[in-house]
Amino acid sequence: MFESLTDKLQAVFKRLGKRGVLREADVDEVLREIRLALLEADVHYKVVKDFIARVRERAVGAEITKSLTPAQQVVKIVREELVKTLGEPGRLELKGPAPYVIMLVGLQGSGKTTMAAKLARYLRHNGHFPMMVAADTYRPAAITQLEVLGRQLEIPVHSEGPSVPPPRICANGIQEARRRGCDVVILDTAGRLQINQEMMRELEEVKRTVKPVEVLLVADAMTGQEAVNVAAGFHQQVGLTGLILTKVDGDARGGAAISMRSVTGVPIKFLGTGEKTDALELFHPDRLASRILGMGDVLTLIERAEAAFDAEQAARLEQKLREATFDLEDFLEQLRQVRKMGPLTQILDMIPGLGRLAQSISPEVTDRQFKHVEAIILSMTPEERRNPRIINSSRKKRIARGSGTTVQEVNALLRQFRQMQDLMKQVGKGKKGLRGMLGMFG
């Protein structure tokens, strides 16, 4: 079930696991898979090449640590390099005399206007008095869009007619911010292609006029190979201080982040994770690394689980799982706790390899399924729950009737439960355990 890279690497590791040394051939075999995963995640071809070369150099020369198998060691290096490439999360650098000017730039449709509102809201939350400036005079109704957002958030917006040149609007906006006592000014500029010289010159002029402390490139997480040219183009012509990745709430792997980081060297500062103005997140390199590698967002999952679960109880159940004494009663208990963690589709999204599954299933279907499973287990006698093997066809009929489900559904549950027990037995025998398997990268 855990397809994609995790699966693939597991197979490689199994073969490699038995050997004691890290040979060049072993390294290459792992790196081949990593390379393809990165390309699939939209990391730029050349960036992948350099990256793989770096990892290879480190890996082949690496000393073998006792605690790791050779293959784990390669993966550890891959992950370290990836996290290093993604860099430390950047924070807004508001220094010098106020008002601090933050300039948002980027391609058309990357999400600048929404991001302006999100940043304004975030800054206000952190004790600032932000103002937004509508400097997109090109896209029809872009000014109105920012004004509407400003009204909704009760954050002042400076705007002028669409025939006023943007550098002037920005300069006037800053004057107004001073008058009103606002300490941060966020400029929403028009989307433009980095190859449009006239439009790029306009950005330069805005920058010269307003002397921003931050020039942030707002880029769509779904961007493909062009991310490199876009980021390089904006950086060379305007000079960036940071990157923001938007639409991260989708299912894009976000490899563009690596491309843009590598070519500009400026830090990633924020992630946009939804259409609402509070959907702004700080950037965690390790999480993004997992996502790009297709490993799921294991860290977020662990955090959520920790919030929802009683640690001792969870440890006890995990022990049971490992010893394969986990019965349907325990299962029911788990089921109820999982529900506390949030919608199942969201949880699945964070699990390596299950993201795609999550998308193919509606929240309603899983919710109904949860209820069915619960009803089925509740219709069993305590003895049946502890020992599902005794459930014969007449018992199944009774359970189905009692739970308002069908015998097929009861069968499906029992079959799945058996499969899960089998899987657990295998995991229990292995040294690493399922957690080790999944946590391979973390």
């Binding site: 699939e40 939209d42 071809y45 779904m222 639409k247 299912d251 662990i302 706790q337 795609r356 899983t366």
Partner: protein
Amino acid sequence: MLLAPLTVSAMVVGIAQSIKEGLTRTRNAIFSRIAGLLGASEVTAATWEELEELLIQADVGVETTLHLVERLRRRASAEAIIRADALQAALREELRALLPSPSPLNLGNRPLDVILVVGVNGSGKTTSIAKLAYFYRQQGRRVLLAAADTFRAAATDQLSIWAERAGVNVITGAPGGDPGAVIFDSLQAARARGMDMVIADTAGRLHTQYNLMAELRKVRRVAAQNVAGAPHETLLVLDATTGQNALSQARHFLEAVEVTGVILAKLDSTAKGGMVFAISRELGLPVRFVGTGEKIGDLAPFDPDAFIAGLFDET
């Protein structure tokens, strides 16, 4: 800590899966074959690598690139291709074969045509609709726009300004209102005013947002209930700068609202839009139009040969 929720979740899904057939695909089998392809080659190893680089950098994607390279390798040995330029010509043919000429658009055969336009946030829907309206008006069609994006701030104002530029009328609804109601009103108005084409704008939405996709299905139903066979075309607007995620977008929108074709916007950027090969190959969706700028005339019917030539352009 992690183990238990994982297994439980996985199991519940497993059951849901056995009941409802979902989509799981494994590409990995093909992944490992690339290595073999790159090693030995008929031309030179470097030629193959260049080809691969060209395709990957055009966002053609790993899987389709592998498919193409494999086919080329077979052809190279079968047809004894030894020159790199001959290989490139063969590649063009293979690419062309992935974009079969579609049947004409399902428009113009009835009193009222309905076109529904969908896509993720910021892909270029509203602008493309304005261009489409202008395009069809030039051909003498009587076009009415439906501003069914009631969600995004000022989306209606944006479409209204475009409508004016295109010289067509637009039916709007209240901000935050029901997009289905806007469609309904637009279809009524189109009939009353003797219009013969309605093009509906919808709010951008990520294909992973289940509720918003359900809303879109409802919009589609409203069209179907009011005009026989509507929407007659459902066009997905993709941003040419999008990478591999475009396939996921196409798959989800296709499943939700039976997309019939693609508009590839922003092809004036430096991006090549190579993901349409996978979309055509795997989903059979034809590209209908390309967007080439921000002006109202910047829309052209898709020309596969020009598009393929663009892949080989140095930019």
